[in-house]
């Protein structure tokens, strides 16, 4: 915990992220390039044909949508308990990327669903709870922008950030709890054939590094902007 607080200092974060960014950016490019190559060279699935290649953009986007919300929930918890200003910055910075990944998950899922299920959309547990995640993201971002006082905005957003986290296990277990067109979990259970699993894992790692890279840059942007606002107000 002490280590976490040491690097949660804005100056320490700027130094650490400055050193890490070239590596996370390089890892993003490398992993996505390898993932695309592996993904486009898989054989057709015996049931889904070549639509299976959509898995390599749909699943990473959907996974990152949930992980980004996890980041917001954890940072919100830190913000409410320890009132650490960098927690607010970290939570706020993750939201637009989480919303983007959610939108991409919905669009690519719909494009995959049409040829496989015969429909673009179904109001079932998984799809509806995932759509709700997009609305939670949009509401979270709107709340930050709606309250002028930054401290009050951070407090309100942190509460929403924590409350909205209830939706994450609902998304995860929706395929077990309710009847759905969406397939069940197949990565951890080992149901996915290795020929599809490896490209998927590489793409997921690539998306994760992309999120970390963009998130760190967004946090740096917010730290610089706050410094500029302090200067404008005549601060040190």
């Amino acid at each position: 915990m002490q280590l976490l607080f040491r690097y949660a200092n804005p100056h320490a974060f700027m130094r650490l992220s400055g050193a890490l960014l070239p590596f996370t950016a390089a890892a993003t490019i490398l992993l996505i390039a390898i993932g695309l190559y592996l993904g486009f060279t898989v054989p057709p699935d015996y049931q889904q044909g070549m639509t299976v290649t959509m898995m390599f953009v749909h699943v990473p986007a959907a996974t990152m949508a949930e992980l980004a919300y996890g980041v917001i929930a954890v940072a919100s918890f830190f913000s409410l308990v320890w009132r650490h200003p960098l927690s607010d910055v970290a939570a706020r910075a993750a939201a637009p990327y989480g919303a983007l990944f959610t939108a991409l998950g919905l669009i690519t899922g719909s494009l995959w669903g049409r040829p496989m299920w015969g429909t673009w959309w179904q109001w079932d547990g998984r799809l509806t709870s995932f759509l709700l995640l997009l609305f939670v993201y949009l509401g979270y971002m709107a709340l930050w922008n709606a309250i002028e006082d930054e401290t009050r905005a951070a407090r309100a957003a942190a509460i929403l950030g924590l409350v909205g986290a209830v939706n994450i296990p609902i998304i995860k277990f929706s395929v077990d709890w309710w009847t759905t067109l969406h397939q069940g979990e197949s990565i951890i259970s080992g149901k996915l054939a290795p020929v599809f699993l490896w490209p998927l894992l590489v793409m997921m790692a690539g998306y994760a590094f992309l999120f970390v890279t963009l998130w760190m840059i967004a946090i740096r942007t917010e730290i610089l902007s706050r410094k500029a606002r302090t200067l404008m107000l005549g601060g040190p």
Partner: protein, 50 residues
């Protein structure tokens, strides 16, 4: 099998990849643009102050 045909599913596969590339590409551009603008603004303020 023709690669671009994607086994007859090209109309679904390529838009999925296209929208992903577009979305993520725009996110990268937007993030870098915002970072550059924040850096330039802070630099201008610091120069004005000194």
């Amino acid at each position: 099998m023709n690669f671009w045909d994607m086994g007859g599913y090209a109309a679904y596969v390529w838009p999925a990849y296209g929208v992903s590339a577009l979305g993520l590409g725009l996110a990268v551009l937007w993030t870098l643009k915002a970072y550059g603008a924040a850096k330039a603004r802070l630099k201008a303020l610091e120069e004005r102050k000194t």
